[in-house]
């Protein structure tokens, strides 16, 4: 079963290349902002999946890093006047720090408690976003300027911004892929499968857990920071527990613990929200139904099922 050391298996290489070609062509066919939203959420879900699918840790508070980073990036671009890449970097760094703080507390509990602790801390971040002076309360941070990339390339144009988003999110997803398939990733899987055994083999389990938590939070933050640049907005929606639920749903639907599942899940959910936006609360209901069906009948997720059919890990 092990994917051996000669780097990326050919199937994965092909899929990534096809995906890249598809994404390069995509903005010429669909509205670029929509495509950028999908990519941001794909990175968000991939980061979340690193923690749940490979680390076996269910965080119910990933909105904190996603939304927290989007606030910091928006603030950096609007008030500090930083260039887009530095704003995104600032947001990402903030998410990493937040992940370190929350993660070091949360990993003291396991399983269900871990989920509740992360949820509760994320709610605390939500209240902070509501009350802190720089976040704009109910309004959020609006009309964030798009700025010039490296101070040179204007991102006012949707197409220019699109390729910036593509580069960052695709790069992030490849990095996460690399992490999963590194020796570090193998240890993670060992901990997920049998924690006492990993401990008895001499691994400092908590350090691995914290590292994967911070990595996951960091990339979730990168996704959130990018989103704030795309929509020129950081709002309470991004830090709300509903957002934490959405990323769980994307990962569950696509297939947790698969490489491509979260990407597919993100694409499906964002598309669905896009088409059903006019139906208001029905979106929530449908998401709930997908949750219920997914848990009861379809735990492998879409990509998980395909992976079983073709008998190759995806």
């Amino acid at each position: 079963m092990m994917q051996q050391t000669t780097g990326m298996p050919r199937l994965h290489k092909v899929i990534f290349l096809v995906l890249l070609a598809f994404l390069i062509a995509l903005p010429f066919f669909v509205y670029p902002v929509f495509a950028m939203k999908v990519m941001c959420f794909a990175l968000f879900a991939a980061a979340f999946n690193l923690l749940l699918g490979f680390g076996g840790l269910l965080s119910f508070g990933h909105a904190a890093y996603f939304g927290g980073a989007s606030y910091v990036a928006a603030h950096a671009a609007k008030v500090w006047g930083l260039t887009p890449e530095l704003s995104v970097l600032a947001g990402t760094a903030a998410a990493a720090v937040l992940g370190l703080l929350i993660g070091s507390l949360a990993i003291r509990r396991q399983g269900i408690y871990f989920a509740m602790v992360t949820l509760a801390f994320a709610q605390m971040v939500y209240f902070l976003a509501l009350q802190l002076p720089f976040t704009g309360g109910e309004d959020g941070i609006q009309s964030v300027p798009r700025g010039d990339l490296f101070g040179l390339i204007s991102l006012q144009n949707n197409m220019a911004l699109y390729f910036f988003v593509l580069a960052v999110t695709f790069g992030g997803i490849l990095f996460l892929y690399r992490v999963v398939h590194s020796p570090f990733g193998q240890v993670l899987k060992a901990i997920r499968e049998n924690e006492p055994r990993a401990i008895s083999l001499g691994y400092d389990v908590n350090r691995y857990k914290l590292t994967v938590f911070v990595l996951s939070a960091t990339f979730a933050g990168m996704a959130g920071a990018m989103k704030s640049q795309v929509f020129q907005l950081a709002s309470l929606t991004d830090v709300h527990w509903g957002m934490s639920g959405e990323v769980v749903l994307m990962t569950l639907l696509g297939g947790m613990g698969t490489v491509f599942g979260p990407l597919a899940g993100a694409a499906i959910i964002v598309t669905m929200q896009n088409y059903l936006a006019t139906f208001g609360a029905w979106v929530t209901i449908i998401q709930g139904v997908i949750f219920v069906i997914g848990v009861l009948l379809f735990r492998e997720g879409i990509v998980g099922v395909i992976s079983r059919w073709i008998r190759r890990p995806l």
Binding site: R108, A115, A120, Q131, G245, I285, I290, F291
Partner: protein, 295 residues
């Protein structure tokens, strides 16, 4: 002393009462979570939605059928409990052999559905529910004004909490329940119908949430989101207390409500986050929770 701190006793007592009311809801809800968790090993994410449903059922009984508060106090928890039993039989029972996290995910989905449905039909503005006539008005205690209904909420929740504790810790039925928590297979071998017990336990825990909802209806406006944010605070309460002990869940609920009330007096900006801060401290000092058993 009060003058020294620049806080009038009226304000202090008023906020403490408010804290005690919130604490009553925390206690009843975390008690329900603890009862369910003990036997099913599931964290019921739908608890907040079912609390909201309890309030709505009371409102519907009054608006559509003219059934008043006192009957609603009995009927609404029953209806919510039966609804819970249906959920348990049709869905939750399929997950007992799997990782407990699936229970959390399933009940989260259920919460989204229930909240979404109510939001669709009743909007988010909230519906008023009158305080029953027998409990309107209040008492002037000299140092503060005590509305009768609020006193009733505190008393009713205390009675329910105590009754539940008594039933679980001191009766024969409770002994079966505690035994089944320890070792369901062995208890089943003694001829006790464990699946039935699990079903009724879930129904009972959920009915507690419905009961809290009815109590809350005249205080807060009845609206589809009333349970969503509350349940997250209750999760923090549960983490702080640890779910090992029934009494622990109850006490933690009341105490944290009071702490929140005090915070509102001395540092209002912190009142929304104080429980989460306490949770962080507890995680540092005693990660298994104040009343929890070491995992």
């Amino acid at each position: 002393m009060f003058d020294l701190l620049g806080i009038s006793p009226q304000v202090l007592m008023g906020q403490l009462l408010l804290g005690l009311i919130n604490g009553s809801f925390y206690a009843v809800l975390s008690l329900g979570l603890a009862v369910i968790f003990g036997l099913l090993n599931i964290i019921n994410f739908a608890h907040g939605a079912l609390y909201m449903m309890g309030a709505f059922v009371a409102w519907m009984l009054l608006s559509y059928l003219g059934v008043g508060y006192w009957w609603a106090l009995i009927l609404s928890p029953l209806i919510v409990g039966v609804f819970g039993i249906v959920l348990e039989r049709t869905m939750l029972s399929r997950l007992y052999k799997l990782d407990h996290l699936y229970g959390l995910l399933l009940t989260f989905g259920l919460a989204l559905i229930i909240q979404g449905l109510f939001r669709n039909y009743y909007g988010i503005s909230g519906l008023p529910y009158q305080i029953p006539e027998a409990l309107s008005g209040g008492q002037n205690l000299g140092f503060m004004f005590l509305p009768n209904y609020r006193a009733w909420v505190v008393a009713a929740s205390a009675v329910v909490c105590f009754g539940t504790w008594f039933m679980i810790e001191k009766t024969r039925l409770g002994a079966y329940l505690r035994a089944a928590t320890e070792n369901p297979v062995l208890v089943g071998a003694f001829g006790i119908n464990v699946p039935l017990m699990i079903m009724l336990t879930y129904g009972f825990g959920v009915a507690l949430a419905g009961f809290a909802g009815v109590l809350a209806a005249p205080i807060y406006s009845v609206n589809p989101n009333m349970g969503a944010d509350l349940i997250i605070v209750v999760f923090a309460v549960v983490v702080i207390g640890g779910m090992g002990s029934i009494m622990g869940a109850i006490l933690t609920g009341y105490v944290l409500g009071l702490v929140e009330g005090l915070t509102r007096v001395f540092y209002p900006e912190g009142s929304a986050v104080v429980i989460f801060v306490i949770m962080a401290i507890v995680l540092l000092i005693k990660p298994e929770g104040l009343f929890g058993k070491a995992a």
